[in-house]
């Protein structure tokens, strides 16, 4: 079993060096055998509120968001900013539980990577929140490249 996923980042404010875009979750293809009305699901750190999960879940269903969609997970009026990385990765595992574990590991890896990046940097200037970006993947039609190499392969060790 395999599933494609994209990293979701959240804009954190007012936390010293912990300010800016940080990994918050992953958007992944629904290979759960449940939630038939959703093409993608979310695995995220649960430090957010109930409303955010409901808001994203509703949009995933209503807008029929899939893993390549160029649609934002929250609408413009939503007070918390999220963005979905354009890079599509994939994981594989013997079952859905293993897929979920790989996704969790990938999220932690991304978070640790981002934290070390930040810690290594000297005091950085504080920037205003940037608009979310939502390019899913360029296609041959719009000048991009559909080379499968663009899809990062993540293997279980």
């Amino acid at each position: 079993m395999r599933a494609r996923y994209r990293l979701i980042e959240k804009f954190y404010q007012g936390g010293g060096w912990f300010q800016g875009w940080f990994p918050w979750g992953v958007l992944y293809e629904n290979v759960s055998g449940m939630f038939a009305d959703r093409k993608v699901l979310i695995r995220s750190f649960p430090d957010d509120d109930r409303q955010t999960a409901r808001h994203m879940g509703r949009r995933i269903v209503e807008l029929e968001i899939d893993i390549e969609s160029q649609i934002e997970l929250v609408d413009e009026s939503y007070p918390i900013r999220f963005r979905v990385s354009p890079t599509i990765h994939w994981v594989e595992g013997e079952d859905y539980r293993a897929i979920r574990q790989r996704l969790w590991d990938a999220l932690f890896d991304a978070m640790r990577g981002r934290e070390s990046e930040k810690e290594e940097q000297p005091a950085a200037p504080v920037y205003a929140p940037q608009p979310t970006y939502h390019v899913a993947r360029e296609t041959a039609e719009n000048g991009g490249n559909d080379d499968p190499e663009l899809v990062t392969k993540r293997l279980d060790n």
């Binding site: 007012g14 010293g16 979310i42 995220s44 649960p46 430090d47 957010d48 509120d49 999960a53 879940g57």
Partner: protein, 173 residues
Amino acid sequence: MIALSDFDPVVVERYGIAEETLAKVVRYVQLLQGENAPTLRDIAVGGYYGTSALLHEAVELEMLLGREPGLLQFDRAAAIRFFRANLDAHVRALTEEYVYLQATIERLFGEQVGLGALVMANADQPDFEFLVESPIHVPIFKPTASELACADTLVKQMRALGREMPQCGQGIV
């Protein structure tokens, strides 16, 4: 402005929630979610719904403070990192929150709703799967569409009651 009197007195007594607990919960939620923490809006609803949100945070915080008494003095990054390293506290808090919601809905509206339906209606798929995967044995099943619709309506009705806390059967809108 919220006060302890805005919440279900049974829960306040059973869990030993004091004004100090409330202040600590506010500080904790702001550490995790920022000054305008959306969860504080859920708590500020008061009544039974606000109690379920408060109960979640109080249970979670108590577990975390048991492991790290200095948590509330952490900066935001450290607090978030500590929380993410102790997610069993979140799972335990989810369990307490939804068992309370389930029992209160049954008492208030006379409806039996599954935990899975309630979690999906109130917090959607991520928390549903957290509970399914947790080592805590709770009877959680994927709800049918009609169970989910029912749970959604009941949670909204409970939230709409605000700080009113009618007794058995008086909450039906």
